[in-house]
């Protein structure tokens, strides 16, 4: 149950991350269409609420909320690190490309 919850949180945060302009630039080089961004946000939030429900049902309010908080914090961190890793791998692969990131400094 813990594993399932964590995996779902990872997926949820990945969706939310992809819904940000920043990550879309870094990964795809261009922003995604509005509809796709909306869908990603809704899906990400929905899955997180699903996880909350699952944990509350499994362990009750006290333990459930604590576990939810822990899973989301950790999953956010993992997705964040993955995004950094992917972005820097892409930058290394294309040394000549000017990513929007460096232009904003």
């Amino acid at each position: 149950m813990h594993l399932l919850s964590f995996a779902l949180c990872l997926a949820a945060f990945a969706a939310l991350a992809l819904a940000t302009e920043r990550q879309q630039h870094d990964l795809f080089g261009r922003p995604l269409p509005q509809a796709a961004t909306h869908l990603l946000r809704i899906a990400g939030t929905g899955v997180m609420l699903l996880v909350l429900g699952v944990l509350l049902d499994w362990q009750g309010w006290g333990l459930g909320l604590v576990m939810f908080s822990g899973h989301t914090s950790l999953a956010a961190g993992v997705v964040f690190c993955a995004a950094i890793g992917l972005a820097s791998a892409r930058r290394r692969g294309k040394p000549a490309a000017i990513s929007p990131a460096s232009r904003r400094v």
């Binding site: 920043r22 006290g62 604590v66 822990g70 914090s73 904003r104 400094v105």
Partner: protein, 551 residues
């Protein structure tokens, strides 16, 4: 006059832009002034989530327990032993073993007039007992994981009250830093997944922000609940005003813990009834593994009482739940399972801080998010020097404030890792029969920490960082080797026996060694950008500064 104009201007900032900046300033100062203490509190606190496992690892003579012994029998054995070694003690208390401990920790108050209670020290004795025999454990004398735990909220080499006050002050600064940090960074969700790698100051800011934001529920909770655990010390005024009689005091205490006040001993000896039976009754009520603590007052006397308290696992509250028995007869006198609303709130908050209620996964979540919090404090401290270095008029000769922060950072962050690992090395290397062995492990910790401070002062800053990080990596990586050489519980043995406490420790050391090595490599690879053009002429810096002011 110009001074008046400047004063008026500074005194009346436009509200909108002002609050973000004032909160930013507050955040930086609150964080910096207590940062080194907070880092140490955070790291030792993080490690304390596994203090029982650490204590097991530090007493390798005690065999790994594949099965939990029957709590009722254990309680009886230790009760008998305590009756023998502390007869006439007004109060003793034992913590029953659970899946994470393989010894019974007990303490007892010395009988009045008993020799051995040095003036100024608490008049109680403590020891660890073997659950299978009831006798004191024959393992090396060590404070175990409890050293980091106690250091976390009362430090060392000082009266515990001073330590707790310092910890409380630090926690208050942390709370202010969190609130001001949130107000400053109002664009939290927009910037949620932003990270600008390899960009010096911006990278540190983004890392600090990420660690802070992702763990925000935890950091806010752990800080506030930390204050709550010692709130009676920090804010005694309500209690002093309202609680004036002993009866009222007892009423309040009963809301907080399961301690029963020893009454006056009657003078007639009466052996304690079967403690095992009392524990069994509690097990029937709460569950096989749900009994946590057995406390007895005036044991051996006709007025003896025994309280069997519920354990902490599985319930998010530390509010007392216990069954009170008459000592000589074993008759159940009272079952206490509810407290008032405010007391229950306090119980929940206390439990949230200690995190003892969770299963293994939840404990690991606590540990990892707490580690994020530690890194949050560390990145904040380092970021201060990175930012200030840009503004130095002469980078070769920074002012004294900068130098102090820079060197303290090295010793408080990298140096602490070295010192904590040295503590574990001491546990394996100090001779078993050495007098005051437990105290010397602790002296070693502080001696090494002091050495890292000296090293940080004497070496060039960047070199000091790299050398200390590598030292920590090396000590951590070699600890499993040291363990294999000095005990008969090497890693392959522990894995084969499914002894996950020992195996886990070894693996954790290797993981942390890798982490420190990565940090050392990144520090070595990082070259601060050369300042070819004076700051004023570079529009980029001003632009950057404005952008930073906005965020």
């Amino acid at each position: 006059m110009t001074t008046d104009n400047v004063k008026r201007e500074r005194a009346q900032r436009p509200a909108g832009r002002g609050i973000r900046q004032s909160m930013s300033g507050l955040h930086i100062w609150a964080g910096l002034l207590m940062g080194w203490i907070l880092y140490a509190m955070f790291l030792t606190g993080t490690v304390s989530y596994f203090k029982d496992e650490l204590s097991q690892w530090m007493r390798p003579e005690l065999a790994h327990q594949a099965e939990l012994p029957d709590p009722a029998l254990v309680a009886q054995r230790v009760a008998d032993e305590l009756g023998a070694i502390a007869p006439g003690s007004p109060q003793w208390s034992m913590r029953l073993p659970d899946g994470r401990t393989n010894s019974v920790y007990a303490f007892w108050r010395m009988a009045p007039g008993e020799a051995g209670a040095a003036p100024g020290r608490r008049a109680f004795g403590e020891a660890a007992f073997d659950p299978t025999t009831g006798g004191k454990v024959t393992a090396r004398e060590t404070l175990g994981g409890d050293f980091f735990y106690r250091f976390h909220f009362q430090f060392h080499y000082m009266p515990v009250l001073w330590g707790r006050w310092i910890a409380g002050a630090a926690a208050m600064f942390m709370l202010v830093a969190i609130v001001s940090g949130v107000i400053t960074h109002k664009k939290i969700f927009i910037d949620f997944f932003t990270f600008r790698g390899g960009k010096g100051q911006r990278s540190w800011l983004d890392a600090h922000n990420a660690l802070s934001v992702f763990g925000l529920p935890f950091h806010a909770m752990i800080t506030y609940t930390g204050l709550v655990t010692l709130m009676a010390l920090y804010m005694p005024w309500g209690e002093r005003t309202a609680i004036t009689t002993p009866a009222e005091r007892q009423q309040l205490t009963a809301e907080l813990n399961a301690f029963i006040q020893p009454g006056k001993p009657g003078g007639q000896t009466a052996p304690l009834a079967s403690v095992a039976d009392m524990v069994r009754q509690a097990q029937e009520r709460w569950g096989q593994d749900a009994v946590g603590r057995v406390t007895a007052t005036n044991s051996g006397d006709s007025t003896a009482r025994v309280a069997v308290a519920r354990g902490e696992a599985g319930r998010v509250s530390m509010s007392p739940q216990y069954m009170l028995f008459d000592g000589p007869t074993g008759r159940l006198l009272e079952t206490r399972e509810g407290v008032g609303a405010a007391a229950e709130t306090r119980g929940v908050l206390y439990a949230l801080h200690l995190g003892r209620f969770g299963d293994t996964v939840t404990r690991w979540l606590y540990f990892l998010v707490s580690l994020m919090g530690t890194a949050m404090v560390g990145t904040g401290l380092v970021m201060w020097t990175v930012k200030r270095r840009q503004k130095l008029s002469d980078p070769e000769r920074p002012h004294i404030g900068f130098r102090i922060v820079e060197r303290l950072n090295i010793a408080s962050i990298a140096g602490l890792s070295v010192a904590m690992t040295a503590f574990l090395w001491g546990n394996r290397l100090l001779p078993a029969g050495m007098a005051d062995r437990g105290a010397w492990e602790i002296h070693l910790f502080f001696a090494v920490w002091a050495l890292t401070l000296a090293h940080a002062v004497l070496r060039p800053a960047r070199t000091a960082w790299i050398e200390q990080l590598w030292a920590a990596a090396a000590l951590l990586a070699l600890l499993p080797v040291l363990n294999a050489v000095t005990t008969d519980r090497p890693l392959w043995h522990s894995v084969a026996e499914a002894d996950w406490v020992f195996a886990g420790m070894d693996l954790m050391c290797l993981s942390l060694a890798a982490l420190h090595a990565v940090l050392a490599l990144r520090t070595a690879r990082h070259r601060p950008k050369p300042r070819a053009v004076p700051a004023k002429a570079r529009g980029g810096v001003i632009g950057g500064a404005l952008e930073e002011g906005r965020s």
